[in-house]
């Protein structure tokens, strides 16, 4: 059986030493959490795909500049490292 996730809540209106509670998440909170996790994962995958494509395009661009006769030092001066 999977343990129920919990949240740590600190009520600052209470005296020190009496503030912290560890509260199990409700079913609604768990469902919302899981739904947001799916969205976050899809956004992460999309972000990494964009970064990978950008790196591929950048390398292709550098290769094209080399083919045109620029030196690596000239390319770096133009584009950065």
């Amino acid at each position: 059986m999977t343990d129920t996730p919990v949240k740590i809540v600190v009520d600052l209106s209470k005296p020190k030493g009496e503030r912290e509670s560890i509260i199990p998440l409700t079913d609604d909170e768990i469902a919302e959490r899981d739904a947001q996790a799916v969205i976050a994962e899809s956004e992460r995958v999309e972000r990494e795909a964009i970064a990978t494509q950008k790196a591929t395009d950048a390398q292709a661009g550098r290769d094209a500049l080399v083919a045109l006769g620029l030196t690596e030092a000239q390319i770096t001066a133009l584009l950065g490292a």
């Binding site: 919990v6 600190v10 998440l25 799916v38």
Partner: protein, 167 residues
């Protein structure tokens, strides 16, 4: 001007899906939230911070995000503030640091905020994030939620809330 620790939370051995401060005292000028976080799973790679339990699209933001190979800039509006954190596949026993600065948290105007965070990793796939946020509200900030969607903050993750006072 004073810089005072209000309270500190540390996650125990069972992990935690969220850390929350409620009943925030209203006798300060600004708030500073300092975090040291790690996810026990590989997803997500960011903490989700909300204010006053508000998860509506009330957080317009500009984020500058960099990893080991590129940087990007993006403006968007979301239902929470995202701060980068390391995930379970990142360098072991390593937590990411994050800070959220909330100015004039008791005012009746929209709240202006800034954040910086890092998904610490001794490899190319580490992330650094610098953000400018706004919270669209006329209410004072009375609570802060630091949630992780999908899994748990690892043991020894911490959240510390400070207030900056005028005297």
């Amino acid at each position: 001007m004073g810089y005072q620790l209000i309270e500190h939370i540390e996650v125990g051995s069972g992990g935690a899906a969220s850390m929350e401060f409620t009943g925030i005292p209203q006798d300060g000028v600004h708030l500073v939230l300092k975090l040291s976080l790690r996810n026990t799973d590989n997803n997500p790679d960011s903490a989700q911070v909300s204010l006053n339990s508000d998860t509506g699209d009330n957080y317009p933001q500009i984020q500058l995000l960099g990893d080991g190979s590129s940087a990007s800039l993006q403006g968007l509006t979301m239902g929470f503030i995202r701060l980068a954190i390391p995930v379970s596949t990142y360098t072991a026993n390593t937590f990411g640091s994050a800070e959220l600065y909330i100015s004039n948290y008791t005012s009746t105007s929209n709240k202006s905020m800034s954040g910086d965070s890092v998904g610490e990793n001794n490899a190319t796939l580490g992330r650094l994030k610098i953000d400018a946020f706004s919270y669209t509200t006329s209410s004072a900030i009375t609570s802060i939620q630091v949630a992780l969607f999908g899994d748990n903050y690892a043991q020894y993750s911490t959240a510390s809330l400070y207030k900056i006072t005028a005297d």
